[in-house]
């Protein structure tokens, strides 16, 4: 009869919705609503609603595929790390700030860095990184003009709510992206050269997103646009704590993008990969290729709170409790500090032990949390910073194929969350020219192979096929494909 209730945040996109989880005696969880949580006012998107699924696979510690206790796993990890050559450590931002700091300490002991934050996303000059941080969502509600380079309905559904409030407050909303949006006053399919025509000013907000597969050229173009017009720019990101990881890693150098890391692994330059709640197989558009690359590693060590494809193939898995039970802090997309009500710290304890095994000091939660506060005073003081970068040059990638399959990075697909987006979007013109049959399917051919998909007719630009689902024909976020009715 006794239930345990955890106040926590949704580990989806970076909005960081408040909610609470009910855990009943048999370990099953259900999600429940706060009515006045400051970020989301008690509301959740369709991904948030499915959180119980996300928590249905808690991880278990493993050494060489065999279930093992935490200490055994830590020791196995330590012995592998001690003898490893070049080590790459990756944390995409899916755990608490405190765990992230602990992971960074280990990196220091090992003489390396944690690849994390914005640097693992697009290849952008480091002076731009602070400007890819988010802005308070309440400010979006008060903007006069909002330009969307994302599809909030598909990618960040809870942002729809903020945009609707903004619209009620009198904002003029333009969708400059890929699809006609119901909430927008104007739907304009613009090329970067036409962005000037948007007539933005300092009361305007540009909303885009940034993730491991963002076209960095386009990110530069948007930063240029913000710089030229004085408009504010807000970037949405996947993972609950990518913002926190980013801010904590701001003074670190020598970081690589995730695709770069994968390239080096493929080439054989990196032989040891140490992951903190980050699964490249889920993250990369091309899962097969990624899994194949990871198999070339000598050491694959994973700290994880849930089972995912990478824990299946890792040499060592150090298991932690589910995210909602953790004691710890997150920073959401707008820079708000949020705290779990859970009190468990097995992840930090494990990393502390690992640190000691590696010959360094151990650490505990309070100490790490104190460190976080120090850091945050420093970075939060930087709010409302002026642009510190100049106009950037970039060479846009040319797509020469007839059709481009564009992957709308969906911040939950990294977590293998079920979604019903088993279709692609294309427009009526294409339906006619491809002689598609209603209720039929399209076949997409890329260099990787071909697959059949259902499709939905939307007002999207000619030649563009959108997907909110990772498709196995995709080679990146934009893939040139041949399309045929079938």
């Amino acid at each position: 009869m006794k239930e345990t209730i955890y106040q926590t945040v949704c580990p989806g996109c970076g909005i960081g919705c408040g909610l609470y989880i009910r855990e009943n005696g048999n370990g099953s969880v259900s999600i429940d609503f706060l009515k006045s949580s400051p970020v989301n006012l008690g509301k959740l998107c369709r991904f948030g609603m499915k959180l119980p699924h996300y928590y249905s696979d808690p991880s278990s510690g493993k050494v060489e595929g065999l279930v093992s206790g935490a200490e055994e796993a830590v020791k196995a990890a330590a012995s592998r790390l001690k003898n490893a050559g070049k080590i790459a450590m990756l944390s995409a931002g899916n755990t608490t700030c405190e765990e992230h700091i602990a992971f960074t300490r280990i990196a220091e002991t090992l003489g390396t860095v944690v690849h994390t934050g914005i640097p693992v996303y697009p290849e952008l000059p480091s002076e731009c990184h602070p400007h890819l941080e988010g802005m308070p969502l309440a400010e979006i509600e008060n903007a006069e003009k909002i330009v969307l380079f994302i599809d909030p309905y598909v990618q960040y559904p809870l942002l729809v709510r903020r945009l609707l409030i903004a619209r009620r407050n009198g904002a003029h909303i333009i969708s400059a992206g890929t699809k006609e949006l119901h909430l927008a006053h104007e739907n304009r399919d613009l090329s970067p050269e036409q962005y000037a025509g948007l007539e933005l000013d300092s009361n305007s907000v540009i909303i885009a997103d940034v993730h491991p597969h963002t076209d960095s050229c386009h990110t530069k173009q948007l930063l240029n646009l913000a710089l030229e017009t004085g408009a504010r720019i807000h970037f949405m990101k996947p993972f609950i704590n990518s913002e926190g990881a980013n801010r904590l890693a701001r003074d670190k150098t020598g970081m690589m993008g995730i695709s770069h890391i994968m390239d080096e692994i493929e080439k054989g330059d990196i032989k040891t990969l140490f992951l903190l709640d980050s699964d490249p197989i889920e993250l990369m558009p091309d899962s097969d290729r990624t899994a194949n690359a990871l198999s070339k590693l000598d050491n694959l060590i994973v700290i994880s709170s849930r089972d995912s494809p990478v824990t299946e193939i890792a040499n060592v898995v150090i298991a932690t409790e589910s995210l909602y039970r953790k004691r710890g802090t997150f920073i959401n997309a707008e820079g708000k500090l949020r705290e779990n009500s859970g009190q468990e710290v097995t992840g930090i304890d494990a990393m502390s032990l690992l640190s000691r095994e590696l010959g360094s000091e151990g650490f505990e939660y309070r100490q790490l949390h104190g460190h976080l506060h120090e850091k945050m005073i420093e970075t939060l003081a930087n709010e409302n910073r002026k642009p510190e970068y100049g106009i950037m040059e970039c060479a846009p990638v040319q797509h020469n194929g007839a059709c481009t399959l564009k992957y709308l990075f969906n911040p939950f697909m990294w977590a293998n969350q079920p979604d019903d987006n088993d279709f692609v979007l294309l427009n009526m013109n294409m339906v006619r020219s491809l002689k598609l049959r209603k209720g039929g399917m399209v076949r997409l051919d890329s260099e990787k192979g071909s697959m059949k998909m259902r499709y939905r007719v939307e007002r999207v630009p000619d030649g563009m096929i959108l997907t909110a689902r990772k498709l196995q024909v995709a080679t990146g976020t934009n893939t040139t494909v041949k399309v045929e009715g079938c």
Binding site: L44, C45, F423
Partner: protein, 383 residues
């Protein structure tokens, strides 16, 4: 021994409970006694998070029950879903009780195992709206509020500085604050569908503020009250004619006001504009399914007709999901407002449901959640 139909005035014997509870702590004490004496395995209590937020929690700890209580007009949760599959007692607004009864018709709840102490309800406020109202109308920082009550048609907030500020509810509601829309035109104010119907309406004279008016509605209500008296948790005395008359008068006034609000809030949309209105209202739906999740009437699991045969791939002008839900629930929608509260894109789901449900339920003379008569779709009244 009390009898079914008795109208009583009562209060908790424990002075602490009596003082803390809004009206003599009767409800808290009755629930605690039920748990203490093993009538139920648990009690649903609202665990206070702050002035505007409380989480329904099921507890088997009598002390925790006794420590709960107090009015929370800004916590509009529906408790019906928390009763599913458990042998519990709970306090309940009329809409909570209606939810439980509708669940019982769908085998979601074993009514015999669920004791509900009903509470009079003039309506609830949404916490977010309340915060905004405090800033704009009361000019009080919501975080400074330590207490709230309703007296003589005015909503009073107390701050930590010991100040009180009162504004008439009419004025607040004219300005768009105050009670949720569906509460304003709700037609059940006294929970006569519960086992006990409790509230402070009709408590006058020296007992005002320190006793609860309680009507014994059925056999379960009698058991609850007898148990609490026997356990020494409460004391009761018969209510006099005057008390009874005042309670009825308050109820009538509230219902009359409700009718007026209904006329204002559910104004007829011209025939030729209606479809466009519904299409527009549902157009921003992000397909989260939360309205279904919180609905206290719906008993479906994860797969159901509204979800299984609805696909984002369909290019429809209105989503199949909403159409199927309207169809499946318009005969038994209780108008509790949960779906509107939860909707992340502010679709007025409850208002839309009422537009379909009101005429349908009126035509069939069916009031869901008020008795065990089954709704038309479940019964398909033949001949």
């Amino acid at each position: 021994m009390v009898e079914i139909g008795d109208k009583l005035l009562g209060y908790a014997t424990n002075p602490d409970v009596r003082n803390r509870g809004a009206s003599g702590g009767l409800v808290t004490a009755v629930l605690a006694a039920a748990l203490e004496k093993g009538m139920v395995e648990g009690v649903v209590v609202l665990k206070r998070i702050d002035e505007y937020e409380a989480i329904p929690v099921i507890t088997d700890d009598v002390q925790e029950v006794l420590a709960s209580g107090g009015s929370m007009h800004a916590v509009p949760v529906n408790l019906a879903k928390y009763a599913v599959g458990r042998k519990i007692a709970m306090p309940g607004k009329p809409c909570d009780v209606r939810g439980v009864i509708e669940q019982a018709k769908r085998n979601g709840v074993e009514l015999e195992d669920t004791y509900i102490v009903g509470l009079n309800c003039g309506g609830a406020m949404h916490p977010v709206v309340t915060r905004e109202m405090l800033i704009r109308m009361y000019e009080i920082d919501p975080e400074d509020v330590v207490g709230e009550e309703i007296e003589k048609g005015k909503l009073i907030f107390k701050t930590k500085d010991g100040e009180e500020k009162a504004i008439s509810i009419d004025e607040l509601e004219e300005a768009g604050y105050g009670r949720r829309e569906n509460c304003r035109y709700c037609t059940i104010k006294i929970p006569t569908n519960a086992d006990l119907a409790c509230g402070n309406w009709g408590v006058i004279g020296e007992l005002a503020g320190s006793a609860t008016f309680c009507e014994v509605m059925n056999e379960k209500g009698k058991r609850l009250l007898d148990n609490a008296i026997e356990a020494g948790f409460i004391e009761v005395q018969p209510a006099d004619e005057k008390s009874i008359a005042i309670r009825e008068k308050v109820n009538k006034t509230m219902l009359k006001l409700g009718d007026e609000w209904k006329g204002r809030l559910l104004t007829e949309i011209p025939d030729q504009e209606r479809l466009a209105y519904y299409i527009e209202q549902f157009a921003d739906c992000i397909d989260c399914g939360a309205c279904r999740e919180v609905c206290p009437v719906c008993t479906c699991g994860e797969d159901s007709k509204c979800t299984m045969f609805h696909s984002l791939a369909d290019n429809y002008k209105m989503s199949m999901y909403h159409m199927v839900r309207l169809l499946h629930l318009s005969d038994s929608c209780i108008g509790c407002g949960q779906c509107s509260d939860i909707c992340p894109v502010d679709i007025p789901v409850t208002t839309i449901f009422r537009r379909f449900a009101d005429p349908a339920q009126k035509k069939r003379d069916y009031s869901p959640g008020m008795d065990l008569q089954r709704p038309p779709f479940l019964e398909l009244m033949l001949k």
